[in-house]
Symmetry: C2
Subunit: 351 residues, 2 copies
């Protein structure tokens, strides 16, 4: 999430969003870091891995920012979300490490993952440390607020995980499938978006939003989460390392799923070719693959679904009392990211 938001260029709102991420996210991130690294750990390797993850790798400004914006959007004091933002940064970080172990992802956003740097054993124990610390701090935060609210938040965190976890196991099954229906994959994307939804919803709850505001921000979060995932899928299409990894170790990104459903034979033949390549995929091979996917109309289908979701996202925040220009800006910044990739395609920089 962070990286994506951090990459936006040449638009008025870019600087604004980046400033918001730093303003709203930094304190929680810094406190999360301190909370983890203050703990006494004898094993140097484990301490080193935790330190690496918390200071170099996990620059998660997006989640605390979302909490803060949604809290303020319903009239709450954004500082009130910090005690919740800290544990959620840690819990999300732990799940990110688990994802990397599951997908055998050694490098992400040009950085070695904890799994890539320290192996799965240390990675698993690092994630455990983050989870235990995270749940402890979440409990501490919950004790400070009315029981009813605390229950809503804990329920949201658990439901969120069950949906994300469920989506991940459903994703595992996709790997072995020859034909993935786009609807099936979009259903999984929707479940995975429970992560972002939980953050926008908890922000609204902590901020004291009305029932309908909570519902709207929940819907907004779900849409935003889906867009994050779909645009990540598009980004993977333009990165030789990522697309190889996706096709070899995971399941194809959304444009490829559409492409397979439209011209299975042509798409699958090229996928097999990519899978057979050892080492780095050449730019030529990547361009040829993008060409095939483009010809099937898969990118248009992907664009169509992005527009549908963006429409729902805009609708959902129409009734939020204040600051919805920031939530709007966040959405548009994300959509601009997608647009950049489409510009590549349409202006034949790639094709």
């Amino acid at each position: 999430m962070t990286k994506k938001l951090g990459n936006i260029e040449n638009e008025d709102f870019t600087e604004k969003i980046q400033a918001e991420l730093i303003k709203r996210g930094s304190r929680a991130l810094e406190e999360a870091r301190k909370a983890v690294l203050d703990e006494e750990i004898e094993c140097k390797k484990a301490m080193e891995a935790l330190n690496y993850f918390m200071t170099t790798y996990w620059q998660d400004l997006a989640r605390p920012t979302l909490l803060s914006m949604c809290c303020e959007a319903v009239g709450g004091d954004p500082d009130k979300v910090i005690p919740f933002a800290i544990p959620l940064i840690l819990i999300s970080g732990a799940l990110d490490i688990h994802d990397d172990i599951i997908d055998q992802t050694k490098v992400k956003n040009d950085l070695l993952t904890v799994y890539g740097k320290y192996g799965y054993r240390i990675a698993l124990l690092t994630a455990d440390a983050l989870l235990f610390k995270g749940f402890h701090l979440l409990q501490t935060a919950c004790v400070q607020i009315p029981k009813r609210k605390a229950k809503i938040i804990m329920d949201a965190v658990t439901t969120m995980f069950y949906q994300v976890g469920d989506a991940e196991t459903l994703e595992l099954a996709l790997r072995k499938k020859k034909k993935i229906s786009p609807d099936e994959y979009i259903h999984i994307i929707k479940k995975k978006a429970a992560d972002v939804e939980a953050h926008t919803f908890i922000g609204a709850v902590v901020g004291g939003g009305k029932q309908e505001e909570q519902k709207s921000l929940r819907e907004y979060g779900r849409c935003l989460g889906m867009l994050f995932i779909i645009i990540d899928d598009i980004a993977d299409m333009f990165n030789p390392h990522e697309i190889s990894h996706r096709l070899k170790k995971e399941h194809p990104p959304l444009p490829v799923v559409y492409s397979l459903s439209k011209d299975y034979k042509k798409t699958d033949t090229y996928i097999k070719k990519i899978k057979s390549i050892r080492g780095q995929l050449s730019l030529k091979a990547l361009k040829d693959f993008l060409d095939i996917v483009y010809q099937t109309g898969a990118f248009f289908e992907t664009q169509r679904i992005i527009e549908d979701i963006a429409f729902n996202a805009r609708m959902s925040i129409d009734n939020i009392r204040m600051l919805n220009n920031q939530l709007q800006m966040l959405l548009e910044a994300l959509l601009y990211e997608a647009k950049k990739f489409y510009n590549y395609l349409h202006h034949a920089k790639v094709l």
Copy 2:
């Protein structure tokens, strides 16, 4: 823990302890099972793995029994620990799955582990489901008690994990070491015993024990936990499958650590021989290995440390107002388990 307590034979207290385990542990275990399996999960494979773990594999009667006994020992109503026993069963189960992934343990106590049956990906997601559910239920239980007590319990759970996690990363480093000092390994065993200590301590807290009673039961738990681990290590020495796995994928059990420190060359030569054997270790080879370890005096050293710990355990519960005959019985049942292995050795059934 459970298996060990379940295996005691031919002693008066055996039946009593087994009855206690069922009486005190079953309800929490049943409710933990229900809580996990009631959750809506779409992925059939994940549901199947959760179901397998909770109904066939994780017969964790020992932890709820310890909670219950320690609560009652300080004059509390043992039913009060059930809301804490349920999440602790789930969290401990998740950590057990993580251990199996780390040690690549496919079979334990003659049962396939979740890792062995479903692979590391599904195992990891199963453990996550248990952790999230566990922490949710722990939070729910904490809301029902005074804030001060809730904080003590959450602190204990987190400290427990940090110690166990730390011990596990220290253990990973042992694998690559040629010479492990017995003191170093016993230090790790002590850290790992934080698991059992947390349970006896939380039982005392929920039961409303006085400060000194809490401290005593904490000490008792630490000793009991160490004994569980050491006796497990002894048991591994008598099981061809386990000893092979320990020497090939993990680090040597305590008697072998002593043996290495007493006669490195002789012990190490035989370890290398065992490591080179593919497939099942023959009973002859196992007997030869036990013989070498026995000759170095390593089993006597192990016995000496067991007696020291048992002495501390007995001392620690001397001042507990009631029911310490049950805690005593639990301790003696465990020591009897060790005695059985020593009888094997001394009566030349093995040697």
